[in-house]
Structures are given as C-alpha cells and as structure tokens.
C-alpha cells in the first residue's frame, strides 16, 4: 500500500506517496492528478521502491505562484528528488509528468541513467494537433483518455458524488488549482522547447504509448524516439492515454525493462 508522507523543499512542504521495495523509482503524475489507490503505483511498487510526489497545485500542496514555467517545475522536481535523498532513481512520468521527467533528464543528463516516458506531453506536430484539454468538459474527457470510453467514464467517476452540489464546488476548486498549474506548462500549446533539448538525454529510455491514445496520438512516440538516442518505443494495444489505468501491468513490465 502507498503511504502519504511529506518532505520539506525550497518550495514548501511537498506531499508524496511512498510504497514498495527494490530499486528507487520516482513517478511523476499527469495533469489529471494522482491518488493513493492508482493501480500504476501498486504495479510499480510490486518491484520497486516508489516515490510519487504531488506537483505543486495537486493533492494537499500549497499554491506556488512563484513556480511559473518549465524550468521552474523542472528544477523544483530535482529539488524534490534531492530532498528525498535519492541519487539517479529510475525516472518515470506520465503525460505532463513525462514532459517534466524528460526535461529533468535533458537538463541534468548525468543524473538520470534510466527514464520511462508514458505518453509524455511536450512535443507539437502541426499535422497532428492534440485536442485542447483546457476546453474539454468533464463528460467529453473519456473519449480522449480511454481505449474504451464507456468503461473509462466509470473508472473516472467511481465513488464520486457527481450530483452533490458541495462535491461539485470542491471539484471546481480542485480542477482550477490542478489545471491552472498544468496550464503553466501545457496552455495553450503543450510545447515549451523540449524537442530542441531531447538530444541531451543520455538515459536508457523507454517510451510507452497506448495504441488508442486520442489525447496525444501515438505518432508522437516517434518524435520522442527520434530525439532521444537509443530510445525504444513500447506500444500497448487496447489502451488509450490512460494506459496507466487500462494496462498498468504492461506499463510496469516496460518500466522493469530499463532497470
């Protein structure tokens, strides 16, 4: 089971989830956030010592208006790794978390020897524009996020009291905090120059992509593959952008392959 703990960083108290044993692994969540019950964490914790920090704006973090751009978030996350006392952990990130992980590896190539990018954001291909997530209404999300939108919708709303006005208000507040932060990296186009820095990455890199990803289509895997020397793409059938929910075991297997 994952346990929530807190560490002190230059940007205040940062909550993180910790569990499992084995090689240390840092997992960075995507724009949708993270909960202790996420199956990907459990799957990774079966073979690794997992540390999953909440990005500022997510979980019970304080708002950090002083973190504004890609470099701020990249260095902040390095601060977190240092505060956790880790050296060269396996770095894993999903979607926006993958974008941050890739930046971390590009900025400090000598400190990351193993990198797993799961449907990372950060590139833009004119011929394959990604949907504007900041305009999507909650009911529209499943068709972009899941191979099977119907089951996905159920996964997203399981246990939520969506008809309760108090719940909706707290949902609006949480969504504004989380997506407000995500906007600093992803709005209006989720590209902050990562493509021109990918060549710096020296880590052994695995790129994992759901074949039915309609949020960031699998063609983007090729962009990362071309940019990162020696990287390898693992395509996952019958999985969408939330491959971490739909096929956690397959993702964990791909992660194990970089160790």
């Amino acid at each position: 089971m994952m346990q929530q703990k807190t560490i002190e960083t230059p940007h205040g108290q940062i909550p993180y989830l910790e569990g499992g044993s084995g090689e240390p692994l840092v997992y960075l969540h995507g724009a949708g956030g993270m909960t202790a019950g996420d199956p990907i964490l459990e799957a990774l914790a079966a073979t690794h010592h997992v540390y999953a920090p909440y990005l500022p704006g997510y979980g019970e973090t304080e708002d950090r208006p002083d973190l504004r751009d890609m470099l701020d978030y990249t260095l902040h996350t390095w601060d977190v790794v240092r505060a956790l006392g880790l050296k060269d952990p396996i770095l894993v990130g999903h979607s926006m978390g993958g974008m941050i992980a890739a930046e971390m590896a590009a900025v400090s190539p000598n400190d990351v020897s193993r990198l797993v990018l799961i449907a990372p954001a950060g590139l833009w291909i004119d011929e394959h524009p990604t949907p504007d997530i900041f305009t999507l209404l909650p009911f529209e999300l499943p068709k972009y996020l899941f191979h099977d939108p119907e089951t996905g919708a159920k996964l997203m709303t399981a246990g939520l009291r969506i008809d309760d006005p108090e719940f909706l208000k707290s949902y609006l507040v949480r969504n504004a905090r989380q997506m407000g932060m995500a906007g600093k990296l992803l709005f209006p186009i989720p590209e902050r120059g990562l493509g021109s820095r990918l060549y710096r990455i020296r880590a052994k890199t695995v790129i994992v992509w759901g074949q039915s990803d309609r949020m960031i289509p699998p063609v983007y895997a090729r962009g990362f593959e071309a940019g990162i020397a020696g990287s390898r793409v693992v395509e996952v059938p019958e999985a969408g952008h939330m491959v971490i929910l739909e096929k956690p075991a397959v993702v964990a297997e791909a992660v194990a392959s970089v160790a």
């Binding site: 900041f134 999507l136 504004a176």
Partner: protein, 420 residues
C-alpha cells in the same frame, strides 16, 4: 449621474438556426458567417449611432474590446474611439477598455490612450479589463494562471509611463524595457480616470478601492441579479475603510429599450432582444473559464462566469427578460421607475446604457435612444445630488477644443507679375 451610450457591436446577421448549428458565438465561431462587405455597412452604421448619441446629450459614448466574437466585432476599440474623437464634440470617450495583459509591450496602451486623450481634448475615460477568459486565454493564448500577474505588471507600467517625467528602466517579469518615455502623454493630469470592468473577482474590488478606480460590472443579466455581486463590492468598500461610498465608485451595464408605451416596446424590440439573448450569448461552456483564470478565492466565493450559467441559457422570452430585469423596457415612465430602482438599489453613478441590442436596425435604435435622452435621462440625472461634486471618476476636457475639419484656406503665394 453619468450615462454612457454603449454599443457592443454585435454581428446582426447570425442565422436563425445559429444555436442549433454552432457550438459557440465566440472563439471558434464559423468564419463563413462573417461578410466583410456587409461589415462595411455595419461598422459605419454603428459608428454613426455612437456619434448620434453624442448629439442627444449622453455623458459618454462607450466601446470595448472582444476577439473572435459574434456579438462584439470590435477587437480594437481604439480604432473606433479615434474615429469618434474626430466626429463628436462633447461626450466622454469611454474605452472600456484595453485588455492590458495582451499588449506587448503594454506601453502601447499608454501611448494610444494618450493619443486619444490629446485628439479628443481630454475626453478619455480609460478602462483596463483583465479580459474574459475567451478573449485573453482562448483567443490570445495567455496562460490562465499567469494572466493576473501579467495584468498587474502591465498596469504598473502604464501608470508609471503616464505619470513619470523622466525616462525610466522597467525590469518587469513580462516586460523588460530600458527606456520608457512615452511621447505623447495624456492631457488629463495626473492621468485619465480609470474604470475597471469586473465580473466578481474579489481581488478586483480591492484593486479599484486601492487605486480610486471605478468598478464596472458589465453584466447582461440585469440589475436584479447584480444585486448580490455589487453588494459584495460595497461591503468590501466599507470593510476596507474607503474614504467615501461615492456611487461613482461603481458602474453598471444595462440593456434599455424605450418606446411610447410598454406594448410598443415589446412590439418594436422583442425580436432584437431575443436575437441578442438567445443567439449572441451562445458561448460554448468549455470556453467560459479556463482553469487558473479565476483565483481560488473567487471560485470559493461562488463567482462563476456569466457565460456558463449552471443550467445553461434556455430560450428566454420577452416576459422572462423584462420581468427578470435583464432588459429594462417600456414607456419612458416604466423605464424611469426601473432605472431608479437600479440606481438606488445598486448604488451606482455610472450607467452604461446598452441601447443598441442584437440586430436592432438604426432607426429603432435612434428612436429608443432619443426617448431615453429626452424623457428619461433628465429625471434620473438629479438622483444623487450629494455626489455631484465627485469628479474623480470622469474625464476633464480642456475648454478650448479644436474643431476638426476647420483648416484655413491653403497658402497662396502672391502672384508674380505676368510675363508677356
């Protein structure tokens, strides 16, 4: 009391099935619905109407800024205001306003407003909106969570550019300028009066109170629904111990339609009001409020975008709209009574009169505006006599103003003796 005749400049040719066939009047509205040749007529008629309002004796004529918007074809209000500055004589030019976070660098706003103030002889009332999320984030690409910080910096830069008399360096986060030294500067000293359009952000209340700016609530849903929001503002004015509660600290936009009788008002204006409320406000909810645009404090206070009402905009009838106060319509006496309720109820001194509504043709708009100016406005003018002396929130034109178009006869050199 100050009455400003306002035109949002709606596109009057949205088709009957617009709502059914389009997801939004704003941001991604269908390009094919715009016809530039028709726009030639539309712009000129709308500017004529603004000029007409000046001749009727309105205190101000108002323009605003929207982008990619079917009910506001005025991405640059300064272009319209420049035309009006030349063709009007007395009315204040209320530019409500320039979305200052969008100008790069915002010194541009300081310059253009200074030009407008000089050309008009000191008739500028300047507005600094944050801009709606549709305009600022979705059309102009500003990062929602950073928009307010960028706005605050732009504001500081503009005020300094207007008021400092030596060139200065400005090392902002979003603007790095070595030599700020605008030329021209405004006539009005130390600066033109400033109005801030807001939609319920508590931070904006404080910003207005701290800077002695007028808070303008530009709602389309009328004075009855505005009560709670403006009460929130006045509560904050009291809480912050502002030196006074002058009604000119606040402004309100109201749709107004006047005819000889209530029945005539319905007969003349119903279809145009219907066009505006049921077609022009059809905004896709996903564009209403980019996450991060509103502060957490504001969301917790329950202030949400007026463009995404919780149950959506249903089809509203004339009865719904007039009884609900979205629209104040009827005979001069009916309108006077309801305007008095509005002014006293909200305690507002600046009224932005939305007299052109939806696809209203010019003749009807003139009829309504003239009746308002002649039969309603004079009776409302005297409502707040104890504040008549308060001139902090209005423009101060110079006395001797130039007459445009009054060039002398061209210089003619004395004729040399004709040579044979």
């Amino acid at each position: 009391m100050k009455f400003t005749w306002f035109n949002l400049m709606p596109w009057p040719y949205l088709p009957d099935d617009f709502r059914e066939k389009n997801r939004s009047v704003w941001v991604d509205i269908d390009q094919r619905l715009f016809d530039p040749v028709k726009a030639h007529e539309v712009y000129n008629t709308y500017m004529d109407l603004l000029e007409y309002a000046d001749t009727l004796g309105f205190d101000g004529i108002g323009v605003n800024e929207h982008h990619q918007n079917g009910y506001g074809i005025m991405p640059s209000p300064n272009i319209i205001a420049a035309g009006l500055a030349r063709r009007t004589k007395n009315a204040a030019l209320v530019v409500l306003g320039n979305s200052i976070a969008l100008y790069n660098p915002p010194v541009r706003v300081a310059e253009e407003f200074a030009m407008l103030d000089c050309i008009s002889g000191g008739r500028l009332v300047a507005g600094f909106p944050v801009g709606t999320s549709m305009d600022t984030n979705y059309c102009y690409g500003q990062i929602p969570a950073l928009t307010r910080e960028k706005y605050a910096e732009a504001h500081e830069l503009i005020i300094r550019a207007w008021t400092e008399r030596e060139p200065f360096a400005f090392n902002g986060r979003y603007n790095k300028l070595r030599h700020v030294n605008i030329w021209p500067r405004p006539i009005q000293q130390p600066r033109p009066p400033v109005h801030i359009p807001g939609g319920g952000s508590v931070e904006t209340y404080d910003f207005c109170i701290d800077n002695t700016y007028s808070y303008s609530y530009l709602s389309f849903t009328g004075y009855i629904r505005a009560k709670a929001l403006l009460q929130g503002y006045w509560d904050q004015v009291a809480k912050r111990n502002a030196p006074d509660t002058s009604p000119y600290r606040a402004g309100f936009a109201q749709t107004i339609c006047v005819a000889e009788t209530d029945e005539e008002a319905e007969r003349l204006y119903s279809e145009h009001v219907h066009y505006f409320y049921n077609r022009c406000l059809h905004v896709y909810p996903g564009f209403a409020d980019a996450p991060g645009y509103r502060t957490i404090k504001t969301i917790q206070s329950g202030a949400l975008s007026q463009y995404a009402p919780p149950r959506g905009f249903g089809e509203l009838t004339w009865k719904d709209l007039t009884e609900g106060g979205h629209v104040i319509a009827g005979s001069p006496e009916t309108v006077r009574q309801r305007m008095e309720e509005l002014i006293k109820g909200l305690h507002v001194g600046n009224i932005f009169c939305l007299m052109h509504v939806g696809n209203m043709p010019a003749d009807k708009c003139m009829y309504s505006s003239k009746l308002f100016a002649e039969k309603v406005m004079p009776k409302l003018k005297t409502l707040m006599p104890e504040w008549d002396h308060d001139e902090r929130f209005w423009c101060h034109p110079i006395d001797r103003r130039a007459t445009p178009g009054s060039l002398p006869t061209p210089y003619a050199p004395a004729r040399a003796t004709e040579h044979a």
